[in-house]
C-alpha cells in the first residue's frame, strides 16, 4: 500500500429536486482497498456510486482522483473527453445487469478487445490473444470467443462484463450489485473469482450491494447508508460483528442463517 489515497470524496450530496439521493458523504479510498456500500433499496448507494464514477453530477461536494502520474485531479473540473478516457482505461464499471455494460450484438472477444483498442492496442492477433486469455481467467471457454453475449447465460454475461472491465488493468473498479440476480452457485463462483482478481491485481474497488455476505467476503471496509446518509462505517468485520447503529443492527440481525 502506498501512502496516498486514490480517491478523496468530500461532502458529496445529490438531490433530485426536493428528493435527496445522498447527503454529505466523505471518505478516502486507498490503493488496494475494497469498500462495500450497503443499505436497502432507495438508501442512496447507487446514487453515490454514480456520482463518484461521474455518471451523475453531484449537487455539491468534490471527488478527487489520483492519476497515474501522482497528481490529484478534481473530477468535476476535467473535460468530458478526459473523463471518458478515464472511464475507458483506468476505471471499470460493473453493472448489475450485464446488458448495460456489454455490447450484446458483438462477439465476446470483441467486447473485451474494444477496451484494449481504447488504450491504443491495434494488433489484431495480440488483441485476440489477450481477449482469449481474459475469457479463460473468468472461466469462459475459448471456443465461445466468437459468440455474442446474448447467447450466454446470466452468470457468463456477468463474467464477460468483468473481463471487459479488467482487461485494461484499471486501478479502480465500481461495481453495482455485481452478484444481484444470479443464482447462488453462480454467485459463489463469481465472488470467488472477483476476490481472487482483486487480490492478484491489487485493485481498489467500491462495491454497492444489499447482500452483507457479499460485503463480508469482498470488502475491507464498509459504509452503511440509510435515507441518503452514511450512518455507520468501519472495518467490515467490526461493522458486521459489532454493529453500533440501530439500523445496522436490524440489517445484521435480518440475515438468514443456513
Amino acid at each position: 500500500m502506498t501512502d496516498a489515497p486514490l480517491l478523496k470524496v468530500r461532502d458529496i450530496s445529490k438531490s433530485y429536486g426536493a428528493r435527496i439521493g445522498c447527503r454529505n458523504v466523505s471518505f478516502d479510498l486507498w490503493p488496494g482497498e475494497v469498500l462495500a456500500v450497503v443499505g436497502e433499496s432507495g438508501s442512496g448507494k447507487t446514487t453515490l456510486l454514480n456520482c463518484l464514477a461521474t455518471r451523475l453530477m453531484p449537487t455539491s461536494g468534490s471527488v478527487e482522483y489520483r492519476m497515474r502520474d501522482g497528481t490529484m485531479r478534481d473530477l468535476a473540473r476535467m473535460s468530458e473527453a478526459e473523463r471518458r478516457f478515464l472511464m475507458r482505461t483506468d476505471w471499470g464499471f460493473v453493472h448489475q445487469n450485464p446488458a448495460d455494460g456489454l455490447r450484446m450484438a458483438v462477439s465476446a472477444g470483441a467486447n473485451v478487445g474494444e477496451r484494449l483498442m481504447a488504450v491504443g492496442e491495434r494488433h489484431y492477433g495480440n488483441i485476440r490473444e489477450t481477449a482469449g486469455d481474459w475469457l479463460g481467467r473468468v472461466e469462459i471457454s475459448a471456443d465461445r470467443i466468437d459468440d455474442q453475449p446474448r447467447a450466454f447465460s446470466g452468470g457468463m454475461r456477468q463474467r464477460l462484463q468483468i473481463a471487459r472491465n479488467l482487461v485494461t488493468s484499471p486501478r479502480l473498479v465500481f461495481m453495482d450489485e455485481p452478484t444481484g440476480g444470479l443464482d447462488v452457485s453462480v454467485q459463489a463462483r463469481l465472488l470467488d473469482l472477483l476476490r481472487g482478481l482483486v487480490q492478484d491485481l491489487g485493485l481498489s474497488a467500491i462495491v454497492v450491494t444489499h447482500d452483507l455476505a457479499v460485503a463480508r467476503l469482498l470488502s475491507h471496509r464498509m459504509m452503511v447508508m440509510k435515507d441518503g446518509l452514511v450512518i455507520e462505517q468501519g472495518l467490515t468485520d467490526r461493522v458486521l460483528d459489532d454493529p453500533r447503529e440501530a439500523y445496522t443492527q436490524l440489517l445484521v440481525s435480518s440475515i438468514l442463517q443456513v
Partner: protein, 234 residues
C-alpha cells in the same frame, strides 16, 4: 522482555437498539499485558466476556474506552482508536487470530485457505503452498481433503484448517479462541506442541482454553475476566 500487547482501562458495552436501547455492560477497567514468549489464558465462567475481549483485541469489536497497545513494526499502535487500514496492516504483519469457527469461502480449497495469510504477506505461491501442506500434514488432516473447500468438513477438520491458517505465519502476537475445543487427544497434543514452539520463538499468546489439561500445559498465567465483569457481584 518486550511486551508486545498491553490492554489498559478498556471498557465495553453493547447497546441493543432492537431491544429498546437495552445496554449490556460487558467489561470495564480491563488491564493486563502479554510478554513475548508468554501464553496468557483468559479465565472465568462462560458468558463472562472472554471471547468478547479477544475480539476487542483483534478489532472485531469496538471498545467504548481504553487502549489496546500493540507493538507493530517497531512502533506502538493503539488498536482501540486505529482506522481500518491500520488494523488490517497490523493483522497482516503482527496480530494473528485462530477463531472458534472457520468462516469458509465458497470454492476455495483447504490448502489455499491455509496458505492465504502467507500470500497476503508476499510469500511466493509455491512456497506458501508447501508450508500450508506441511501444516495440514502435521495436524493429521487427511491428504484427500486438502484440495476440497472446507465447507463440508467435520467440526474437528474445520478447526484444524483454522489452526493451520493461524499458526502458519510468524506473527508476534497470536490470539486463540478455544483452538482445541473439537479435537481428539492426538491433535490436541499437536496443538499443545505448536503453542510451545511459538512460545520458544518469542510469540506473545493470548487464549481461551476450557480444556483443563490443555490449559495446564500451555498457560504461564491466568487472567480472571470475572474481575472485569459487572456481573462479578451477582
Amino acid at each position: 522482555m518486550p511486551t508486545p500487547l498491553v490492554v489498559s482501562e478498556v471498557a465495553k458495552s453493547f447497546t441493543m437498539h432492537l431491544r429498546d436501547g437495552l445496554r449490556l455492560p460487558v467489561v470495564s477497567n480491563v488491564a493486563f499485558s502479554v510478554k513475548a514468549g508468554e501464553c496468557v489464558v483468559l479465565g472465568g465462567p462462560s458468558g463472562i466476556g472472554k471471547s468478547s475481549l479477544l475480539k476487542m483485541v483483534y478489532g472485531n469489536y469496538a471498545v467504548d474506552s481504553g487502549q489496546i497497545l500493540i507493538e507493530h513494526e517497531g512502533r506502538v499502535v493503539d488498536l482501540a482508536g486505529a482506522d481500518p487500514r491500520t488494523i488490517l496492516a497490523v493483522r497482516r504483519a503482527t496480530l494473528g487470530y485462530v477463531s472458534q469457527f472457520l468462516r469458509t469461502v465458497p470454492r476455495v480449497a483447504a490448502v489455499d485457505v491455509v496458505a492465504e495469510p502467507l500470500l497476503a504477506r508476499g510469500v511466493a505461491p509455491a512456497e506458501a503452498r508447501d508450508a500450508a501442506e506441511a501444516m495440514l500434514d502435521r495436524l493429521n488432516l487427511p491428504r484427500e481433503l486438502w484440495q476440497l473447500p472446507p465447507a463440508t468438513f467435520s467440526g474437528g477438520e474445520q478447526q484444524r484448517v483454522n489452526i493451520a491458517r493461524g499458526f502458519i505465519t510468524d506473527h508476534r502476537i497470536l490470539l486463540l479462541d478455544e483452538p482445541t475445543a473439537s479435537l481428539d487427544a492426538t491433535n490436541r497434543a499437536v496443538v499443545v506442541a505448536m503453542i510451545a514452539e511459538k512460545k520458544a520463538a518469542g510469540v506473545a499468546l493470548l487464549g481461551i482454553f476450557h480444556d483443563e489439561d490443555v490449559r495446564a500445559k500451555v498457560a504461564d498465567r491466568i487472567v480472571d475476566v470475572s474481575a472485569f465483569s459487572p456481573r462479578k457481584a451477582a
